[in-house]
Every structure is written in structure tokens, then in C-alpha cells.
């Protein structure tokens, strides 16, 4: 079973017990008779939970996510200068013209990658995972994705240039991770 984030081994070279950020509930603290002694008081540290659900619209980029849900990987192409985006842009960064939607090839190459042994709290339970930027011929920009089916314990520069194929999740979550790439056999 995967470890939860707070059980994840601490990033330290010293041997020590893993720290967690839960603590005792404090109701009273000692108080000195002389107010001058308050300058020496230890700080009182409390925990303030903060949870929010954001209502995030993908806006003009929404067709990309609809595409993933239907097994299509979409990019955009400038209707004027032809600059082609591997990650969709609504308007061209070169000439400002509105871009049209295009289907990207489902096979591409690894432009670069990394193996994340640690990560942000939200993704810590998924470590180790491989991030990669995908490139295509005749597409001017790249696409960030997860690369699966490689040996995360033995990363190698040889992975750069590897031919990879897009696969789609059966149940779309309407996130960019609805598509991921695997080595092309």
C-alpha cells in the first residue's frame, strides 16, 4: 500500500523520527507575575485548517478536455501563420490570430523527462512518477504528461527521443492526466 503524505520518509540525511504536524490542543499556558518576563515567552503556535473547492473553468481550452474524454489528443494551429501548438493556445503567441483545433498524432517522442521521488502534497502518494515533455515533428511546442511503463528506478538519458504512444483513461476525469504516454512497442 502507498504511504500517505505525512508518513512519507523525511527528506533528511540524519536519522530521526518522522515528524507530523498534528499536535496537542492547548487550553492554558503559564503566565509570569512580572509582565517584563513576557519578552521571554515561547511563541504560541496553533493550527488553522484551510480547505477550499475552486470552481475552475477550462474556458476556451475546454474542447481539449472533451477531446481526451473521446480518445482524441487536440492541439491548436494558428489560422494565419500556421504555428502549431502541442498544448493548446487560444490565440497565437506569434501573431495574435485565433487558432483552430487540430488532432495531434498519438505517437510522439520524449523531449525530456524526470522521475519525481518526492512531490507536492497532492501527488506525494503517487511517487515515484515520471513527468515528460512530448515532442512531435511539425508541431512547434511540447506537451507535459505522465510517462508510464518505464522503469522509474533506473532512469537514463537514453529515454530522451524514445518513441511513445498516447493512451486515454476509460473514465475521463476532465484533467490533463486523462491522457498519458507509454513506450511505443
Amino acid at each position: 500500500m502507498k504511504q500517505t503524505c505525512l508518513e512519507k520518509k523525511p527528506l533528511t540525511e540524519k536519522i530521526k523520527l518522522a515528524e507530523t504536524d498534528d499536535g496537542a490542543i492547548l487550553f492554558r499556558v503559564p503566565f509570569p507575575k512580572n509582565l517584563k518576563d513576557l519578552h521571554d515567552m515561547s511563541p504560541i503556535i496553533i493550527k488553522q485548517p484551510y480547505h477550499i473547492d475552486y470552481i475552475h473553468s477550462f474556458g476556451q481550452d475546454s474542447p481539449f478536455f472533451a477531446g481526451l474524454a473521446n480518445g482524441k489528443l487536440l492541439g491548436t494551429k494558428c489560422s494565419k501563420c500556421g504555428y502549431t501548438y502541442g498544448t493548446p493556445k487560444g490565440h497565437c503567441m506569434n501573431c495574435g490570430t485565433r487558432c483552430n483545433w487540430i488532432e495531434l498524432p498519438l505517437t510522439g517522442r520524449v523531449h525530456t523527462f524526470t522521475v519525481c521521488q518526492f512531490g507536492s502534497e497532492e501527488f506525494l502518494k503517487e511517487t515515484p512518477f515520471v513527468l515528460a515533455l512530448i515532442e512531435w515533428d511539425k508541431v512547434d511546442t511540447l506537451f507535459l504528461t505522465r510517462l508510464v511503463g518505464v522503469d522509474a528506478a533506473n532512469p537514463s538519458l537514453d529515454w530522451v527521443g524514445m518513441k511513445v504512444r498516447a493512451q486515454f483513461k476509460r473514465n475521463a476525469k476532465f484533467k490533463p492526466t486523462d491522457v498519458y504516454f507509454v513506450p511505443e512497442k
Binding site: Q48, K89, T112, F113, T114, C116, G119, L144, T145, P155
Partner: protein, 444 residues
């Protein structure tokens, strides 16, 4: 009144202060932490707090994240705590370059004639959340539609850049480790630094792998800290001189430059190199630029700052650099952006010893070009820590002290004083290279 040919007034940097950077400062909230840096800067020019409000025309506040504190408008809380109300002020935000932008906004206040004296102060308190939540906050500085949900993690983003740098140019992990060794050992002589350690290349490579090929010791840490800078016009300097009866040691800001690039690394172009005056198009035949291995924003900022300061060949014309080494890899990438060496030669540059201090034994054997242009004599972000809003200002303060020749006075140790330093560059960098500032400072 001294006016430069582009219509700007001369701007002097006269004083600075830094709080001791630490993993956590639960003993104070952020306002008194900034006051530590601010009071130090005042004391250094002999001003007391009451005089300060009379001689200062206003301020600029620098902090990156509202998330870390769960407090909006922290800037005004510092302004009132420092006793600077009701003077003009505003907050700036530009990710990791917030401090660098803050310094330049204070510069602009003076150069434009809007103010004669201006305080730039900055801080960050990153200890309020655990490291992994902190990484999550920082990763929100990537596109939340396309980048963050894939596994948002800045160390991962930088690792992808250096993998491409290694592939393109043959850069090695041992070359990266040399940056870590240099910066940690430099910081051994800097009492303000968070991590002061004598390391070896083996220590760096054997520490925890965070995002291949970057280890724990290739990456800066989160910090609580603050810094403050005082800038003035000639009239402002005269006003301070009258108030204190003392003449501050002046450093002149002779160049400012800034650049930007697309938020998403995926969107970066693969086109031609932006050339510096000492480079030729033929130097970069076949190189697709910036791709994800180089920073177009850093190159643009350098080019503008060098043009402003009249610098033709940075390695000859600059005596030291304090640059934004959030990662050992980004220090190597930045050598190239700043033109200290050509694109692709950053690894060999650090191996040559050029960016090391000339007088320190790093345990790396003979370094043929040791001390040619010390980079991050302070220890940089990797060793000093990176309390984001304070970082760019901290670099400015260390550069000021270098040019004043006052490192010993402020650090109690002369080891990292660059001898006869006349001109220094400071470089502040955001995101995956989205906003970058370069400022040139000169001994007056």
C-alpha cells in the same frame, strides 16, 4: 541634477539589512522580522526610526505568496509596523523574482524623480505549512489547467530542463554537484546563511534523489527571512547626510534589465539565440533556442542591463555575480544566459573553477580558472535559503557590501569579500524562467 542620457536620474544604493535566514521563525510574525532587516539598514547609515519617516519618501514591498501566510495585504502590515505610514507604498509580485523586481521598482521611483529616497523591503514566511504543502503552493505557479494537475512540482520541472541540458550539451551531474559544493562552502563564511556546510561532490550525489537527476543538495530550501534596501537620488543622499551628519558609502545602480517567457515550459520556442555583443550567430549553429534548456527571459534581462550599463563582455567587465541558484542546474543555465560563458559551456565553466572564490580551498583539486568571476560568494539561494520575497533583496544587500568593501564589518569574516570589487551583477528569477531581472551595481 545628475541625469543620464536616457533621461533617468542617477540612483544610489546606500544601505541594506538582512534577517538571519532560518527554516522557521516562530518567535516573531513577519512584521518584526522585516523590522530586523530594516533597522539594520537604518543603523548602518546612522538614521533612527523617527528620522527615517522624515527622510524617506516611500517604499516598495516584496512578497511572493498570499497562500503561505493565509493573510492578504501583508505589505501594509509591514509598512505600519515599520512606522512608515502614511508614506506612499505598494506591493510587487513576480514569483521568485519578486525581490529583484522590488529592487528595480525602487530604482524606478528614484530614476523617474517620483521619489528622492525609497525603501525596498521584502520577506517570506514559508514555515507556516509543511514542505510538501509548500511545494504544492509553489507549483500553483504553473498552469493549473495543463501543468499543475499532471504532477505539479518545481523540482520536477527543473529536472526536466537539466535533463535536456545534459542531452543537448553533455552537462554532467558532477558538474551540478560542484555548484552545490561551492555555494555551501562559500556560505560557511556567511553568518546570515541557513545552510553552512562543507560538502563534497559525493555528499551531493549521495543525498536523497528528489527528481532525477537532482538530489536534495542540488535544490534550495524553504525559509523564513527578510531583507531591506535603501535607495536614493543625489538629493536624497544629501538629505540623509544632513539628517545624520554622516556620508554613506555610495554604490550606483548603473544598469537594470528585465525579461519574460511563457508560463508553460511546453510553450517555449525552438528558434534562434538572442546574442550578446561579444557573441556571433555562428557560435550557435543548429542550436534551437531557448527550448527548455535555456532561459530567454534571463538572456533578455542580461542584454538590457548590459546595454544600460555599457557592458560589452560580462566576464571581463563584471567582478562578481549574485545569481538565482534555486537549483544547481539553474546556476549553470544562468552562467550561459548572462554570457559568462557560451550556451552549452556552463558545465565546463563551473569545472574550470571560474565562478569559485579565489582564496577558498574547496577540496576539488586544482581549478585552473579559480576566482575569475566569483558567482554567489554569499552562498546563493542553495545555502542562504530562499524566502522568496526577501531573496532578490538579500542578493542586492550582499552585492552592496561587496562593493562597499564592508563584508567583514557585516559578516565578521572577510573570506568571501571579493577583492577590489568595482562592479557586480544581481540576477533574480521566477517560475521556470518566466520573469527575470538583472541589475548592475558599481562602486561610486
Amino acid at each position: 541634477m545628475a541625469k543620464q542620457k536616457n533621461g533617468r536620474r542617477d540612483v544610489y544604493f546606500i544601505s541594506g539589512g538582512i534577517s538571519k535566514f532560518a527554516k522557521a521563525r516562530p518567535d516573531v510574525t513577519f512584521q518584526p522580522m522585516v523590522k530586523e532587516a530594516y533597522d539594520y539598514a537604518l543603523k548602518d547609515i546612522g538614521l533612527d526610526n523617527r528620522q527615517a519617516r522624515e527622510v524617506f519618501d516611500g517604499s516598495v514591498a516584496s512578497y511572493f505568496s498570499d497562500h503561505f501566510q493565509r493573510q492578504l495585504m501583508s505589505g501594509i502590515m509591514v509598512q505600519d509596523y515599520l512606522g512608515l505610514c502614511p508614506l506612499p507604498g505598494h506591493r510587487v509580485e513576480a514569483g521568485g523574482a519578486t525581490g529583484g523586481v522590488c529592487f528595480q521598482e525602487a530604482y524606478k521611483n528614484i530614476a523617474s524623480g517620483v521619489m528622492d529616497t525609497c525603501v525596498a523591503y521584502g520577506f517570506e514566511t514559508m514555515s507556516h505549512v509543511n514542505t510538501w504543502k509548500g511545494n504544492e503552493f509553489i507549483a500553483l505557479a504553473s498552469d493549473v489547467s495543463f501543468d499543475y494537475p499532471v504532477g505539479g512540482f518545481y523540482s520536477g520541472y527543473y529536472a526536466m530542463m537539466v535533463v535536456r541540458h545534459m542531452q543537448e550539451f553533455g552537462t554532467t551531474v558532477e558538474q551540478l554537484a560542484r555548484v552545490s559544493v561551492k555555494n555551501h562552502i562559500n556560505a560557511f563564511h556567511n553568518k546570515y546563511a541557513q545552510k553552512r556546510r562543507k560538502l563534497t561532490i559525493a555528499d551531493v550525489r549521495n543525498s536523497d534523489m528528489v527528481a532525477w537527476p537532482l538530489t536534495l543538495l542540488d535544490i534550495c530550501v524553504m525559509s523564513d527571512g527578510a531583507a531591506a534596501c535603501v535607495l536614493a537620488s543625489e538629493e536624497g543622499v544629501e538629505r540623509i547626510r544632513k539628517a545624520t551628519g554622516k556620508s554613506p558609502k555610495l554604490v550606483k545602480v548603473t544598469g537594470v534589465g528585465r525579461g519574460t517567457d511563457a508560463m508553460r515550459m511546453a510553450d517555449r520556442p525552438h528558434a534562434d539565440v538572442i546574442l550578446l555583443p561579444h557573441e556571433k550567430k555562428s557560435d550557435y549553429k543548429g542550436l534551437k533556442y531557448p527550448g527548455v534548456h535555456s532561459f530567454r527571459a534571463g538572456r533578455t534581462a542580461s542584454k538590457l542591463a548590459y546595454e544600460h550599463a555599457g557592458i560589452n563582455n560580462p566576464i571581463k567587465d563584471i567582478d562578481f555575480v549574485e545569481l538565482h541558484d534555486a537549483y544547481t542546474s539553474s546556476e549553470i543555465q544562468t552562467y550561459e544566459d548572462m554570457g559568462l560563458c557560451k550556451y552549452g559551456e556552463g558545465g565546463a565553466f563551473v569545472e574550470s573553477g571560474a565562478p569559485f572564490m579565489p582564496n577558498i580551498n574547496y577540496g576539488l583539486g586544482k581549478l585552473p580558472r579559480q576566482g575569475e568571476i566569483p558567482v554567489n560568494p554569499s552562498g546563493g539561494l542553495i545555502a542562504c535559503g530562499h524566502p522568496v520575497g526577501a531573496t532578490g533583496l538579500m542578493q542586492a544587500v550582499f552585492a552592496l557590501w561587496q562593493l562597499q568593501g564592508s563584508i567583514k564589518k557585516h559578516l565578521g569574516d572577510n573570506t568571501i569579500q571579493v577583492k577590489d570589487a568595482k562592479r557586480g551583477a544581481i540576477h533574480s528569477h521566477a517560475g521556470t524562467g518566466t520573469y527575470v531581472t538583472v541589475s548592475i551595481l558599481e562602486k561610486n
